[in-house]
């Protein structure tokens, strides 16, 4: 870091440990930031679209994951550069808010930054650029709303939802089975959706993975699957018409929270205590049994003796059920979570059609399925696949699809994919640019170019000639005044995305453009980076 010196040649120390800090200012800082952010966007850009490629990520411990999901890629890359990290957060906030389009948002930000770089070279002030981007963004968003279409999610057995899910799944390794998986996701979401309030609580959809079989074997269980088995090997493997007692207290003698000591000073005490202990177990099991429950699920462990008493009383039980599962079961079966044995009453029991143990493969892994719950407001998607990596990737893909469907239930407006929406916005923004008389005009025009970058990138990934196909699509949009013309990624012979039925949610597209613009604006405002030198 450069130092200022006084008349005697002594340096002015302004920052602590100034000598060890690295400082970048002005244009140098802008460029370095933009290049770092672009490097991340470049890595992601080849993952965009139905023919996008995957990334293989090796964690610090040597675990391998293969994924196409933007948010996962940037998260696992362990990015160190501070500005590049902003893009990681960008992708993650898209993931948190919308759940899908995490790659697209980063690629768009990358394209915007690329444009900003040329504008900077032209000598336009960064704030002017960001103002221009801001105004262009507003225009683009407005235009998105005008070209959006409302769809009837109920029509034709939710065909529109399935198509939207297929669009989301199309770019993943599971794309071969996108129709089946899309249907599973749609059914799952609709099962738990509150259509009156247009809301979906995604906690009610449990995604359970199990390696083995193949992706085709993935199925939807209208109930809950828990990775546990009966506490005693000789308990019945299936309970019909289950009345579930959901406990969060262990089948063990109570442990008062206050610290205490029981001193045994005579043999009588000893005997009394022994009897009392035995009585505890008997009472516990009796309380559960008396309530009419025929299966007990417990968050904690069982003592051997209690376990046997349960068996003897023909009360199947499951121990160490995880907290989230307990809540899920409570919601699905209408059971109340019971923290003390004394409080068990018949009304608090949950009801389910059956609880049974299922076994997978040759290794001894069993799971419990709770089916036909009283209030079937919880479902499980059981994902199968040839290896851990495929299963993990399928899980991420299905999560994306579920998010898309949820967004459509919340807001049933869609735009068409294949880069058509971006192109339409670009045309609109370009028209608007000519109306602006100030310097921002250039920034607005560049924004349009950046939007065109998305279909460009899509075409590139699909092995088409990006410049020709984008130019053709753009001219057709203008000539036919049809905002649905995009890139024919799947080579189906039509560029009208309505015919190809590539649906994307309006909310996702809007969010993408807004978030990307915001982050770019933020990066453009940084003109000074002070960092420790060993960075």
């Amino acid at each position: 870091m450069s130092l200022a010196f006084d008349d005697y040649g002594r340096p002015y120390i302004i920052l602590r440990d100034q000598g060890q800090k690295k400082r970048m200012k002005g244009l140098e800082a802008y460029k370095s930031n933009i290049l770092a952010a672009k490097a991340v966007a470049n890595t992601l850009s080849s993952s965009l679209g139905p023919k996008g490629m995957d990334k293989m990520l090796v964690s610090p411990d040597g675990d391998v994951s293969v994924t196409n999901d933007g948010a996962t890629i940037v998260e696992k890359m362990e990015i160190q550069h501070p500005t590049a990290k902003l893009l990681v957060e960008l992708s993650q906030s898209q993931d948190a808010e919308i759940g899908d389009g995490t790659t697209g948002v980063v690629v768009l930000a990358g394209k915007l930054l690329e444009q900003a770089l040329t504008l900077l070279d032209k000598g336009i002030h960064p704030l002017k650029i960001s103002d221009g981007f801001d105004r262009a963004c507003d225009v683009a968003i407005k235009h998105l709303e005008t070209i959006s279409e409302e769809i009837d999610i109920q029509a034709n057995e939710h065909e529109a939802l399935i198509q939207a899910a297929c669009t989301a799944l199309g770019s993943k390794v599971v794309s071969k089975r996108k129709r089946e998986l899309g249907k599973i996701a749609v059914t799952a979401v609709l099962d738990v959706a509150d259509l009156a309030r247009r809301d979906v609580n995604l906690d009610l959809i449990k995604i359970q993975t199990k390696t083995g079989g193949s992706v085709e074997d993935t199925r939807l269980i209208s109930g809950i699957l828990i990775d546990k088995d009966m506490s005693h090997p000789q308990m019945p493997k299936e309970v019909k018409e289950a009345k579930i007692c959901l406990l969060t207290c262990p089948f063990e003698p109570p442990k008062p929270k206050t610290k205490h000591n029981i001193n045994i000073s005579s043999a009588e005490d000893y005997k009394k205590l022994y009897l009392q202990e035995q009585q505890y177990f008997v009472d516990m099991v009796k309380l559960v049994k008396d309530s009419g429950a025929n299966i007990a699920l417990c968050q904690w462990g069982f003592d051997d003796e209690a376990n046997h008493l349960l068996l003897q009383n023909e009360l199947p039980a499951v121990r160490w059920v995880s907290g989230t599962d307990v809540e899920l079961i409570a919601m699905a079966t209408g059971a109340r979570i019971i923290p003390r044995f004394q409080e068990i009453t018949p009304e608090k029991l949950g009801k389910a059609g059956s609880v049974k143990e299922v076994q997978f493969g040759t290794s001894n892994e069993r799971m419990l399925v709770i089916e036909n719950c009283q209030c079937t407001k919880a479902v499980t998607i059981l994902i199968r696949g040839g290896s851990q990596m495929i299963v993990d990737e399928a899980k991420r893909s299905i999560h994306d699809a579920i998010c898309v469907i949820r967004n459509l239930i919340k807001d049933n407006r869609i735009v068409y994919g294949g880069g058509s929406a971006e192109l339409a916005c670009a045309i609109q923004v370009l028209q608007y640019a000519d109306e602006v008389s100030s310097v921002e005009q250039y920034a607005i025009r560049s924004f349009a170019d950046a939007l065109e970058g998305i279909p460009n990138c899509l075409a590139d990934n699909c092995g088409l000639n990006p410049i020709t196909s984008v130019a053709q699509a753009k001219s057709r949009q203008l000539q036919e005044n049809n905002p649905r013309i995009g890139i024919d990624c799947m080579e189906l012979g039509t560029t009208d995305m309505k015919e190809q039925r590539i649906y994307e949610t309006l909310s996702s597209k809007k969010q993408q453009i807004q978030l990307a613009t915001q982050v770019v604006k933020m990066i453009l405002k940084i003109d000074d980076v002070i960092a420790p030198d060993d960075y």
Binding site: Y270, Q312, T362
Partner: protein, 536 residues
């Protein structure tokens, strides 16, 4: 630096690396193919074994393993290459899911990628290759299901099929010379399970000494424990109580108890109370009137003596699995409390005869004529622990395949027949498909055909000639022809009795193509900086 010469800021952590495009792809291909080549030589009846030697200090690190089992080899290898890890992963999944075909799946995935690499060099986009592979996989799977046959589970044919499948599985292992013997043994063991798929109930006891031929399936159930001194060594018409309870010092489970006394007398009193408590427990046990008492936990001398005095044979410290097996075999309930003697008839297990037997040099307890007869024991003998371990793995493979077959029921011809049929189906399909995908479909067919080719090569036969003859035979409509690995000719698999389980083939095909697709789709490998480990 990028192509234009701009210095790019460092985005990733210091030691992290990123490979893109061709470099990334090359890296995955090299890794995956290397793994496939490594296990390739173990494929088929004439496959060779590998010695696995652990590295590192310590006594246990000198124990070597000799094996032919793909999953075992791959599991014990430490690889750095991420694509190679994917192959190892699918091999493990194959092992868990169906138990056999672990080498095949890795080799098939490797061969697919080898073909894929050639296509990439011809400038065909990976996505086109994948599209072709997907078509090919569906066609192959359909053909595989079409050529499979199903027999009724109770028929003699099904039983014969099982024996044939077991023989086929075992023929690639160490015990190939005794495969008929072991095939019968495995089939009998599996049929005793009566359709249940819980392998736990088949116990395998390994005892060094004797020859492999001395191994046998015991129709009873053998527990690798000893009867406590001073008890009867032979009990007829035994009533067995299986328990999981503390028989040492029964501690009070109420939290926070502490014995605090102020005189020696009181100590004696409490000691007496403790004794009495144990006596009480023993009395309760006695009310069930068992003749044999098996406990999972330790039994101290005092209760042991009490029980022995009442003429009960005591077996202590049975491990958990052993207990479950005893319970399954004799139909006993595993008890932890003893307050309901009226349920004795329900909870006690029963068997005709319990006796102490000697196998080799070790004493064991044999339960014969059990009530439920579900559990059984395979006693393996062999010259060394290495041989025994390998035989154990082979038997395990065979048992897994048999259980899968019992569940799935469908079988196909072995000897490379199914692979050749699938390859033929792919080639027919390739003629109908328009576009670049057709190349990938042909490549898929070639990869499938590599499996019988490698089997031939491993046997030292002229693979090129044999495979061509094989093709011709199939073309002639000889649906059940296959490789005769004893003579090095093409023979009829129905005469040779070589059959395989459909499920194993299906799973291998699906897993291998899924993995190959996964690796093919990658165009960027990011390796994070390895976590720093402090040396302890």
């Amino acid at each position: 630096m990028d192509i234009v010469g701009n210095v790019l800021p460092q985005v990733l952590k210091d030691e992290a690396t990123e490979d893109k495009g061709e470099m990334a792809r090359l890296q995955s291909f090299v890794g995956a193919i290397a793994v496939a080549d490594l296990v390739k030589t173990t494929l088929g009846p004439k496959g060779m074994d590998k010695i696995l030697k652990p590295t590192g200090p310590g006594q246990e690190m000198t124990h070597i393993t000799v094996t032919n089992d793909g999953a075992t080899i791959l599991k014990s290898m430490y690889v750095e290459n991420p694509a190679a890890k994917i192959l190892i992963e699918i091999s493990k999944t194959q092992d868990e899911e169906v138990g056999d075909g672990t080498t095949t799946v890795a080799v098939l995935a490797g061969e697919l990628l080898r073909e894929g690499e050639k296509l990439i060099q011809k400038r065909i986009h990976p996505q086109h290759v994948i599209a072709g592979w997907r078509i090919a996989r569906d066609v192959a799977l359909k053909r595989l299901r079409d050529i499979s046959s199903e027999n009724d589970i109770n028929s003699q044919e099904f039983h014969d099929d099982l024996v044939k499948i077991a023989r086929t599985t075992l023929s690639s292992k160490l015990i190939t010379s005794d495969r008929d013997y072991f095939a019968d043994l495995c089939v009998n063991a599996v049929l005793r399970l009566k359709g249940s798929s819980n392998l736990d109930y088949i116990q395998i006891i390994k005892l060094p000494g004797g020859t492999i031929r001395d191994s046998y399936l015991d129709d009873g159930f053998i527990l690798k424990k000893q009867i406590t001194i001073g008890c009867k060594r032979r009990i007829e018409n035994a009533k067995i109580l299986v328990a999981n309870t503390a028989m040492d010092y029964d501690k009070i489970k109420i939290y926070g108890t502490k014995v605090k006394v102020n005189s020696m007398d009181k100590v004696a009193e409490i000691e007496a109370a403790e004794k009495e408590k144990m006596k009480h427990k023993v009395d309760k046990i006695l009310k069930y009137q068992p003749t044999v008492f098996v406990n999972r936990q330790l039994i101290y001398n005092y209760p042991e003596q009490l029980l022995a005095d009442s003429g009960i044979t005591v077996i202590e410290h049975a491990d958990f699995e052993g207990m479950e097996r005893v319970a399954a075999a004799t139909g006993a309930e595993i008890l932890s409390t003893f307050d309901a003697p009226e349920r004795a008839a329900q909870v006690l297990g029963h068997c005709d005869l319990i006796e102490e037997i000697m196998i080799g040099e070790e004493k064991m307890i044999k339960f014969s004529g059990c009530k439920k007869n579900e559990a059984c024991t395979i006693v393996l003998r062999g010259a060394s622990t290495h041989i025994l371990d390998e035989v154990d793995r082979s038997i395990h493979d065979a048992l897994c395949v048999l259980i899968t077959t019992v569940k799935n029921k469908r079988v196909v011809w072995g000897g490379g027949n199914s692979e050749m049929q699938m390859a033929a189906a792919c080639e027919e399909e390739a003629k109908k498909v328009q576009g670049k995908q057709a190349f990938a479909i042909e490549a898929f067919a070639r990869a499938l055909r590599q499996i019988p080719t490698i089997i031939c090569d491993n046997g030292g036969y002229d693979s090129a000639e044999l495979i061509q003859n094989f093709k011709v035979e199939l073309q002639k409509g000889n649906q059940n022809c296959g490789l005769n690995m004893t003579d090095g000719t093409i023979g009829s698999m129905s005469e040779l009795g070589v059959k395989e389980c459909l499920r194993v083939k299906e799973q291998a095909l699906m897993a291998a193509s899924e993995a190959a697709e996964l690796i093919m789709r990658v165009d960027d490998i990011v390796k994070c900086a390895p976590r720093k480990r402090e040396r302890a």
